[in-house]
């Protein structure tokens, strides 16, 4: 197959937003779970085409931060802007904005009662993105690109973890999102399946898909990211290009963390 045929054929249809406005902008984001302060005021932005990895010790608020971006978790205070719209504002139709923010979960969350193909077609058909026959063709294209075309009519119960996660990725892509949020996409996988999922993500970001990736795979984060955020105890303790963060961390907490995970 040629390189051309391997692309996901992303149809990025960004609304006309000011050049200066980043795709996602977060202002003073805070999240409490009862008395526990998980996020303590984050300010960050994601530009179009940017690939950001979020690393840090467990319990530092990485996943919570990611889940606040599409409001699966409601922030306690602060604002999230997506394509220039404040989605945390009252009366915003969050469902419409979520259509443009794909999400991939640690535990795949594939719909077990639907076939592989139906998993992909459900949301786009239901939300009127495409007609069913057309969507099924598109689903086949997507499945072909992640090597799952022969499974199209099977139920996900028969898939391996790696196959499920690849399916979850194309299920999110089927909505033609403007950004992809990955929440520890390989943490629940057997080691031999991590590679196949990371390959798909690498291919995807190389095509210019804006992505925010929470991960423990440091080598992968270094390879794909434009920027790495190191989170610790509810704040972004340090951020910068991967080489700087991994090789010359300034913050003592970052140094300590990497001295443990990078050997």
């Amino acid at each position: 197959m040629t390189e051309q045929a391997l692309t996901f054929g992303l149809e990025q249809e960004l609304q006309s937003i000011p050049e200066t406005e980043p795709l996602i902008r977060v202002v003073d984001l805070k999240k409490d779970f009862g008395k526990l302060k998980v996020l303590k005021g984050l300010n960050e932005q994601v530009k179009k085409g940017e690939v950001i990895s979020i690393v840090g010790p467990s319990g530092s608020g990485k996943s919570t931060f990611l889940r606040c971006l599409n409001l699966l978790e409601r922030p306690t205070s602060g604002q999230v802007f997506f394509e220039g719209t404040e989605i945390t504002a009252k009366g915003v139709d969050i469902n419409r904005h979520r259509q443009k923010m794909g999400m991939v979960f640690q535990l795949f969350n594939i719909f077990p009662h639907l076939t592989v193909s139906e998993n992909i077609c459900l949301a786009p058909v239901m939300l009127g993105k495409r007609k069913k026959p057309e969507m099924q063709e598109y689903a086949d294209q997507l499945l072909k690109r992640v090597g799952l075309l022969d499974k199209r009519n099977e139920h996900p119960g028969r898939l391996s973890g790696g196959q499920k996660q690849r399916l979850a990725i194309v299920r999110a892509l089927a909505m033609n999102p403007d950004v992809m949020l990955f929440d520890e996409p390989t943490s629940a996988l057997d080691p031999e399946m991590v590679g196949e999922v990371l390959d798909v993500i690498v291919k995807l970001v190389s095509e210019g898909m804006t992505s925010v990736i929470v991960t423990h795979e440091m080598g992968f984060a270094r390879e794909v990211s434009d920027r790495v955020l190191f989170m610790d105890d509810g704040i972004i303790a340090e951020q910068g290009p991967p080489d700087e963060i991994f090789d010359h961390p300034q913050n003592p907490r970052t140094q300590e963390f990497f001295s443990k995970v990078l050997r």
């Binding site: 699966l72 979520r98 923010m101 979960f105 949301a123 939300l127 999110a172």
Partner: protein
């Protein structure tokens, strides 16, 4: 005693068949309408509005914490007073059974829905489906797998509980027992026959449900 038991079957078997029909009929009505109302109450129980939740919880607890026999008496006497049209004991008993059943099935439905992994809801919502669409296309189809076997077991329970309705001579198996025992001046023998009918009915049904449940599990 054995000879008398045979005599009961031969002479009055047709009455038991009649009673069996009523028992099944009452049970089916109870579970069918009970499941419909129960689903509504389950939805109320999971509502965003506190008052709605409280009303549903109060209803469920009131039903579950009082005896069925009391409820049967209650509706048997209250409904005709309330609405003269309802002056029919079969209707009154059915209403009481449906209401009783709805409280139990609502808990079955709620448990079935809440047993669906939270990640399923999150995945559907992250794709942009709203709460309603998620419920209809993602959560409910999976919840049904949890709910159906439990609902069948509820049907089996109700088959036994309808026997209480014989207090009002409703025509079920136990009503027929009372008729036959009165006619033959026999107590134990018709009781044995009734017991065997109940046993065969509920035992075979619960075996059916168990195998059905196993098949659902394989499908996962």
């Amino acid at each position: 005693m054995f000879a008398n038991t045979i005599k009961v079957v031969v002479k009055y078997g047709y009455l038991f068949v009649d009673g069996l029909k009523y028992t099944l009929y009452l049970s089916a009505i109870s579970v069918f309408f009970g499941a419909i109302f129960g689903s509504l109450i389950a939805m109320m129980r999971m509502s965003h509005f506190r008052t709605v939740r409280t009303v549903a919880t109060a209803y469920i607890e009131a039903i579950r914490c009082t005896p069925l026999l009391l409820q049967l008496y209650f509706f048997y006497f209250m409904l005709p007073d309330l609405l003269p049209i309802l002056n029919d004991k079969f209707i009154c008993i059915s209403v009481a059974l449906v209401i009783n059943c709805s409280a139990y099935t609502s808990e079955i439905v709620r448990a079935g829905i809440q047993a669906v992994d939270r990640g399923q809801m999150e995945a559907a919502r992250s794709l942009g489906l709203d709460a309603r669409q998620t419920m209809r296309r993602v959560i409910l189809p999976q919840a049904v797998k949890n709910i159906l076997p439990a609902l069948c077991n509820e049907f089996i329970m109700i088959i036994k509980e309808t026997s209480l309705a014989s207090v009002f001579f409703i025509g079920d198996i136990m009503t027929q027992y009372r008729v036959i025992s009165g006619a033959m001046y026999l107590v134990i023998e018709p009781l044995i026959v009734a017991g065997v009918i109940y046993f065969i009915l509920t035992f075979s049904l619960s075996k059916l449900v168990a195998s059905y449940e196993r098949r659902l599990k394989v499908g996962d």
